[in-house]
Symmetry: C2
Subunit: 244 residues, 2 copies
């Protein structure tokens, strides 16, 4: 049961560190408590001192920051297998908020459990460090997109990246993926207005590159799209465990 559900996390960490039976069982006991959250109500508030992180089992979430002027910047979306609020527990305070995009299921990981697991099985710490690095690489790519790509390239690149991440956990392919995001959410993630998001999506559709419609993203011409967006899929690929 539990084994099946935490698979996405195990698969992710296992890609970096070949996990022993003991490590797998530590990982397993680490998150037992099961919780659900409904769409829209924050899991974590900016400024809150946090003692628990979560692993996302099903559904989508997003992490974001609010500015004084009321604007919102979405930093990243989380999909099944991703950590929620890992940085919050480590820094002991949350510098951002996390909200479910859909109804979600999570398992809870508290700080003592996490640190205890690290002490008993150091390789697990390395695996988590690796996972955190990978998340950071994604944020960096997002930063580059916002800083130096125009709206259309940014959108294309963003959806391609999301597609790749989903494909890694079996939820998408080069043909497309199910996508619960609204154009408003996309706007807040890409640093655009929702009006402009709509126009850009139309452009991409009219060029025959992709369609965004009824909760589904369809890549109509994956090759041309990656070229248009200057998308390099290799940076997400992990060839194999580097720690045998």
């Amino acid at each position: 049961m539990t084994i099946i559900e935490i698979k996405p996390l195990v698969r992710k960490l296992g890609a970096f560190v070949a996990l022993s039976a003991k490590e797998l069982s530590v990982l397993d006991t680490m998150h037992q408590r099961r919780r659900t959250f409904v769409a829209g109500r924050d899991l974590v508030h900016q400024g809150q001192t946090e003692q628990a992180a979560y692993v996302l089992i099903s559904g989508w979430a997003c992490s974001y920051k609010l500015l004084a002027n009321g604007e919102r910047q979405i930093v990243d979306f989380q999909i099944p297998g991703d950590f929620l609020g890992l940085r919050s527990v480590l820094l002991h305070i949350s510098d951002h908020s996390i909200a479910p995009v859909t109804d979600i299921e999570v398992t809870e990981v508290n700080l003592p459990d996490l640190l205890g697991a690290f002490d008993r099985t150091p390789r697990l710490a390395i695996a988590v460090l690796w996972a955190a690095s990978r998340d950071e690489a994604m944020v960096v790519e997002h930063l580059v997109g916002i800083g130096r790509r125009d709206a259309a390239e940014r959108m294309a690149h963003f959806l391609l990246e999301l597609g790749s991440r989903l494909a890694l956990v079996g939820l998408g392919s080069k043909a497309g993926f199910g996508c619960p995001l609204t154009q408003y959410l996309l706007a807040d993630a890409l640093g655009l207005s929702s009006v402009h998001v709509n126009r850009v999506l139309r452009q991409l559709r009219e060029k025959g590159l992709l369609r965004f419609r009824d909760g589904h993203v369809t890549f109509d011409n994956y090759g041309k799209l990656t070229e248009f967006a200057d998308f390099d899929p290799t940076y997400l690929d992990q060839v194999g465990p580097i720690l045998a």
Copy 2:
């Protein structure tokens, strides 16, 4: 000797995890090899498979990504005490380049040493994970700035953050700091053109908020500046070791 030089790193890690004598000595033996690099020539190239990371002892560096169209986005600047290329070794390939801004001094940390140190002293792994999280928090703040702040706020916020980071290692204060960056580098970091950077700096100067001149940033009115930039200095502060 060596003790004095690695102080910034020790101070940083020590803020999170109270390090024992043994851990300090492991940390010390971890980076012996000393190297220098001259301004402008890359330490790490995008796409390179990397086996070594560095700790910056003196000088400034920057990490950046190049796009297909030739534009550059600087992701972050590194100052003394920061890691260079930590993510590159962990992911086993570099997704970005690193260049010295000034001539720099570094000590080298290779992957086997690092992983060995983690195995022997797990708490060190946690400390490094914490440091990586802190770096990520900074990248996130940068992302938010580029996505949702206008050029002047973005510039003000960025310089305030840099000032805070420098203050943590004794290289700056609320009065200002020495700053080897050119307006071109600022432009590539903030996602602006160098022309616009110049205009924005003039605005801020004429408002009596700050001056950027002759390699020095002067905060003329720190209070008004933090308000203008919506800058929250607390997110960088670490109250004390959370792991006794």
